[in-house]
């Protein structure tokens, strides 16, 4: 239970949060413009497979003479393009043909499972395609040498940085640029947008397609920056967790990243505890203690800032951080019995967290008003 443990855990959390944040931004682009996207999962899956095929085939084609990074970049590009194309299909179905957007998204998911499983069975497995490898870690000079923060934020593979930059750009652009204003207008009140000369359908097409490109990047991440090869159904519900992160983050990219980090953290914790070198009970007590302490702190600050409006009772607001602190203290001081928690349960953590967050903790998030409705010109 030392620094290295925590730094490793947080660094891993950021890595695990990356595909979630990218996927959530895919959802953000779609849903802010009024198109529900439950097909993120499928788009990521297509992206994952195509990044693998793209990088491997390009590497073969060039006889392996070019540096591996070039092949990996080609794979990334292919993933983004193909997921963009699949998203274009979603756009075509739901915007042009006005298919119910939930059904269209389901179609995308089923289609992606079919395509990728078929390709894996018929081509990848029989030919024993091996991956080209993964992106190297890019340590940012100087910044990565900062103690604790350096290894957490500045010693990662490139897509993590790309994700962080995109989150900032999308957040800024959504509220401060013509693109952002128009996208939100189309998602809130498309008729109003139409009357001031904004092309509603085109805006939605562009956003959905660009969203798909981001989902492709999320899928490519799973291959090119993680395991290095394609496995059937390797997204394992991350697209849906990304959707949850989007809603939990109230349809903003910073919010999506924050909730992505929460989910990423629990996934990282699950992975880390599976190594079996730390006492699970102690770690869980300590970490949930920290979580409860921080939650109480946020409530306390909110109460102090907002004053009377805050309806939470004082006992709860003060009690929560106290309970958290006690848990942390007992986690540090007492010795815990070593018990075996089956690995499978630890792997469940992110999914349990998703359910809890969606069921209760998340406040009333207000979706864009025109979401889910096809726009019809009169």
């Amino acid at each position: 239970m030392d620094d290295v443990f925590f730094v490793g855990l947080l660094s891993l959390a950021l890595v695990k949060a990356t595909p979630l944040a990218l996927g959530a931004m895919c959802g953000l682009m779609c849903e802010r413009s009024g198109v529900i996207n439950i097909g993120i999962e499928g788009m990521m899956l297509i992206g994952a497979m195509m990044s693998f095929l793209g990088s491997v085939l390009f590497n073969d084609l060039t006889g392996g003479e070019l540096p591996k990074t070039i092949s990996l970049l080609v794979g990334l590009l292919v993933a983004m393009l193909s997921a963009g194309l699949i998203a274009l299909l979603h756009a075509r179905l739901s915007i042009h043909y006005k298919v119910d957007q939930i059904i269209s998204g389901t179609v995308i998911n089923l289609l992606a499972v079919g395509i990728t499983n078929f390709t894996a069975n018929a081509y990848i497995d029989p030919n024993h395609l091996a991956g080209v490898g993964v992106f190297p870690v890019l340590e940012i000079p100087i910044l990565s040498k900062i103690p604790i923060l350096g290894p957490i934020f500045f010693a990662h593979q490139p897509l993590v940085y790309v994700m962080l930059i995109l989150v900032a750009v999308v957040q800024y652009a959504l509220f401060n640029t013509p693109w952002g204003l128009r996208t939100r207008a189309v998602g809130e009140h498309p008729r109003a947008a139409d009357t001031v000369g904004i092309n509603v359908l085109r805006t939605r097409y562009i956003n959905v397609t660009l969203g798909g490109v981001l989902a492709g990047m999320a899928g490519a991440f799973l291959v090119l920056q993680s395991v290095g090869r394609f496995q059937k159904l390797m997204t394992t519900g991350r697209g849906f967790i990304a959707l949850a992160a989007l809603i939990f983050g109230k349809w903003t990219s910073v919010g999506a990243l924050a909730s992505g980090l929460l989910f990423g953290f629990s996934e990282a914790l699950g992975v880390r505890l599976q190594l079996g070198d730390v006492n699970e009970l102690q770690a869980l007590t300590l970490l949930s203690g920290i979580g409860i302490f921080l939650l109480g702190l946020v409530w306390l600050i909110a109460k102090l800032v907002r004053g009377k409006d805050d309806k939470r009772s004082l006992a709860l607001v003060i009690g929560t951080p106290v309970v958290g602190a006690v848990m942390v203290a007992s986690g540090l001081l007492s010795t815990f019995p070593k018990i075996e928690i089956p690995i499978q349960f630890l792997g469940l953590l992110p999914y349990i967290l998703t359910i809890l967050v969606l069921a209760g903790v998340v406040g009333r998030a207000i979706a864009p008003a025109a979401i889910g409705k096809a726009y019809e010109k009169q």
């Binding site: 652009a173 401060n176 640029t177 013509p178 693109w179 204003l181 128009r182 939100r184 207008a185 809130e188 009140h189 008729r191 109003a192 947008a193 139409d194 009357t195 001031v196 000369g197 904004i198 008003a369 009169q378």
Partner: protein
């Protein structure tokens, strides 16, 4: 002759099954307020949507300042100086006024990144404030639209059109959503716009307003121009005849009331609204069989909550309600219905009808569980069908069939469905809340006629309306509500528009003038 700002010639627009505009000629002179008058469905809004580029005309030509133009879309209409304020506001509630106004032609600053450049909020806000003050309009560019009142939102819409450089303003039914005071404010703004050289097309079906503000009046009926006239050369009665195509009785003919026993007695009633503020503060009155008690008042003075309490939709905080001698203060809505109360609600879409249901099912919403419509678990479709056919005929509901969803009927016919349903039961008390809001002259006449008919049959009628004229026209006694209280109850023969108007504004009368309820 002043120059022409806009002219349309021979405009025809067909929709499947209807000719919405049939060879329409219409001209707007520079600096005039030209009223476009017509019933719902006469083609006013269609014509304006053609001018604004939202619809493509099948035939005809549009001229702007004498030049023939083709307007492909709103953007082009705006570029040619035509702005439109829609009946349902075209504002994004979650955005600020400034963001709404710049939407579609954003001004950016800093790096030239095209759609990803930074919008210049400060400059736009300043431009809006300057522009608005020039026309005597007050808007806060930083306010979020959803925080504004309806009147303020309308002002934002007008500023939006001006900000886009509109020379010609089309106002589509602008007064439908306004209180009398807000309407006066709007007229003042319209006059100031005219003084500064703008031209206005004012779409409405309210005769009084047309005569009060218009320079010229063009009347549409069934997609055709009936005629163009001027306020000084016409009367309300003549305009109504042009609109409807027959003589219309603007004043309801009625015999003196013959009040019987007390049907509804309300004692010291207190009701809270959804935000737990007391909005009905100790109201007492009674309604007798065979009379109309009108409750006058500007909207939002507790009338809505009062009606909800009187129909069992909202819990009563304190006080008593007795209906037909039965204590119903805390009863469920069904008890009210079964005791003989009928309710024509304020919002026919939200509370009056299930829009997705067909007409025949809407006609049995409160009685579906009773014979002959129900037998055991089953609905008896034959009885539902027969009931619908009879009522549609009796109440003259114009619907393609009784299977048509209520949502696709016109407003007047939707209201007729509600009235038919409510009055087809055995009724002792009729509560009608804004029964003619948004309806055209013909439908208003019909509904008024039905209300008086029920009164003469011995039904007690409680009429709630913010239309002063309607109250004066129909009521036998008038109660004025202000700030959740009833300020006075006046017999109709002693009520004048001025006296009731003052009470509606909250000016209390001296006790000597008060007549006990």
């Amino acid at each position: 002759m002043t120059p022409e700002a806009l002219r349309v010639r021979g405009i025809t627009k067909r929709f499947p099954g209807v000719v919405a505009n049939d060879n329409i000629d219409f001209a707007l002179a520079q600096g005039e307020i030209h009223a476009l008058l017509g019933e719902n469905g006469a083609g006013k809004t269609t014509l304006m949507n053609v001018v604004y580029g939202l619809y493509k005309p099948d035939e005809g030509q549009i001229f702007v300042k004498g030049d023939p133009v083709e307007i492909q879309g709103p953007k082009e209409a705006l570029a040619r100086g035509i702005g439109m304020v829609h009946q349902h506001f075209m504002l994004i509630p979650v955005m600020t006024v400034a963001e709404n106004l710049m939407l579609g032609h954003e001004i950016t600053t800093g790096l030239r990144l095209g759609p990803l450049a930074k919008v210049d909020r400060r400059r736009v806000s300043k431009e809006i404030t300057d522009l608005a003050s020039r026309y005597g309009l007050e808007v806060d560019p930083e306010a979020h639209v959803h925080q504004l009142s309806v009147g303020e939102q309308q002002r934002v819409e007008i500023v939006k059109a001006l900000y886009r450089g509109a020379e010609v303003l089309i106002l589509d039914e602008p007064t439908a959503v306004l209180t009398p005071q807000e309407t006066e404010d709007l007229f003042a703004v319209m006059r100031s716009l005219i003084e500064q050289g703008k031209s206005i097309i004012f779409i409405t079906h309210k005769l009084k307003e047309v005569l009060a503000i218009a320079t010229r009046i063009t009347v549409l009926r069934d997609g055709k121009v009936v005629g163009t006239t001027e306020p000084s050369k016409t009367t309300e009665a003549e305009l109504a005849r042009m609109m409807v195509g027959r003589e219309v009785l603007l004043r309801v003919e009625k015999k003196p009331a013959q009040p019987g026993g007390q049907v509804l007695i309300v004692e010291d009633l207190q009701v809270m609204d959804a935000r737990e503020r007391t909005v009905v503060r100790g109201v007492s009155f009674s309604v007798r069989a065979g009379e109309v008690l009108g409750i006058a008042g500007v909207q939002g003075n507790g009338q809505a909550e009062l009606v909800e309490a009187l129909t069992g939709l909202t819990p009563v905080v304190a006080g008593k309600i007795r209906l037909m001698g039965r204590e119903v203060t805390h009863a469920r809505p069904r008890i009210f219905t079964e005791t003989g109360a009928a309710h024509v609600p304020e919002d026919r879409h939200k509370h009056g009808l299930v829009l997705a249901y067909p007409v025949d099912e809407n006609l049995i919403l409160q009685t579906y569980y009773l014979a002959p419509f129900a037998s055991g678990f089953n609905i008896n479709p034959k009885a539902v069908d027969a009931n619908a056919r009879r009522l549609v005929r009796e109440f003259d509901v114009r619907t393609p069939s009784i299977e048509t969803p209520a949502g696709s009927l016109s407003g007047g016919n939707q209201q007729k469905v509600i009235v038919a349903r409510e009055l087809s039961r055995e009724v002792h008390l009729l509560i009608a809340n804004q029964p003619t809001r948004g309806l055209d002259v013909g439908s208003i006449e019909y509904i008024h006629h039905r209300i008086i008919e029920k009164r003469d049959e011995g039904v007690a009628v409680l009429l709630v309306s913010s239309e002063l004229e309607e109250i004066l026209n129909l009521s036998d006694r008038i109660a004025v509500m202000y700030g959740g209280e009833i300020l006075a109850v006046i017999p109709a023969e002693q009520a004048t528009a001025e006296r009731v108007g003052l009470l509606m504004a909250g000016v209390r009368e001296t006790p000597a003038e008060l007549i006990p309820a």
